[in-house]
Assembly symmetry: C2
DNA sequence: GAACTCTGTGCACAAGTGTTCACCGAATCG
DNA sequence: CGATTCGGTGAACACTTGTGCACAGAGTTC
């Protein structure tokens, strides 16, 4: 039990806190605790008391921050997708020489999955299992990402003449591949470097295959 | 509450039952009840009492059939994959003219998802969320399917010269696409015919794209 | 500095959970 | 037919859960 420190007795680093700071501190403590527990459990089996116990807070304190665990879950999804959007922005900012776009995209994905492992794990878990509200939120977020990718694709020469539907099909295929890759990395044991290298190699080949298919598409 | 019929008072169709029959009957009643509940809940939040209540049986009766709910879950996975293997056998038995292989494969997948909606839903849910034992079981089953597909691919002309690793990459890509499609269909509202038509059309295009990519692969 | 605000506490409660036990009645067996 | 087996019941247990209420004590405001 390492959670013996009460929230009331502040850590030695910060002598005294304003109320806002204090409240925010236990709020993130609750969110972190939940995320930590969600590494091993699914959200639907997550208990309010369980979270507060992990956070080192009484159950009743929970209600000062959230009306229910569902609400906390939605905040968690929001946070998770915030980091994912950061990733996408990073990927777009990258200087994109066409021949290295695949390698660098996969590299960025892998790095972000490692840096925000718990967030990705949580999304992967709840994507097809969670409460309807969560699944909906996740799905629309992924859909949004997909359509952004489609408009990005439309900027490439040759692809700019494609109908939007077909661009969407390609984008969906790419996103699905990326999602599978992310899930594979999250599920893989943390230490096995070579297993991950294999996943990366496979993903790059799959994306290359898709790219080849695209360039052969209307050549009949 | 339509579960008022006790298991003890046999349905009028079958006057008297042997003990084996009777036991098997409540066993499948438990499994069916669980599967029914799992359409709306995730397995980790499934309670023993909940299942027995839905099945119209006392909680203690459960232990006459399973040691725990986890065990019931594994049986459920087994059953689910039994139907999936049926599907694969059906797909392989189909006369496979190369130009229609995509259309017929997708058609078979869609039909089976509809006929065994609850099984597919269950697998989709627990694939990335369930207990470790379940996830492991599901993953190895999908992996097995993938490698079978890879050996099938190796029988095609032109592909028979490919290294097994690359065949595996292609097979994985195809299976991922199929899994995504199955999930989309299971999640879609049951009535919307046009939404499903769109999913089918997209899937076929994606598979065609992959096929094109494959045929362009070593032409550099 | 006094009055107030608010975040966290402690206690209580009803409801639900998994599991054990003795028991019952009908199918099975000698 | 009598004895036995066994799939079901019902009551009881020790817990855990979510939630409500009164209260404490530190931060805030006048």
């Amino acid at each position: 039990m390492s959670t013996s420190d009460s929230v009331h007795s502040p850590s030695p680093s910060s002598a005294r806190l304003t109320r806002r700071e204090q409240k925010e501190r236990t709020r993130v403590a609750l969110l972190d605790a939940a995320l930590r527990l969600l590494e091993r459990k699914s959200f639907s089996s997550l208990g309010l008391r369980e979270v507060t116990r992990e956070a080192g807070v009484t159950p009743t304190a929970f209600y000062r921050h959230f009306d229910s665990i569902e609400e906390l879950g939605l905040v968690l999804i929001d946070d998770s997708f915030r980091t994912l959007r950061q990733m996408i922005r990073a990927a777009r900012a990258e200087p994109r020489s066409p021949e290295h776009v695949i390698r660098s995209s996969v590299e960025i994905l892998v790095r972000h999955v490692h840096e925000h492992r718990l967030h990705f794990r949580f999304i992967a878990r709840e994507r097809s299992s969670g409460l309807p509200a969560m699944r909906q939120a996740i799905r629309t977020e992924i859909r949004l990402f997909t359509s952004e990718l489609a408009t990005d694709l439309a900027r490439f020469p040759y692809l700019d003449t494609w109908p939007t539907e077909d661009l969407g099909v390609v984008a969906t295929l790419i996103v699905n591949t990326m999602v599978s890759t992310a899930e594979a990395i999250v599920d893989a044991p943390t230490d096995s470097r070579e297993a991950e290298e294999e996943v990366i190699r496979h993903t790059e080949k799959q994306l290359l295959l898709i790219a080849l298919g695209v360039s052969a598409w209307r050549r009949d």
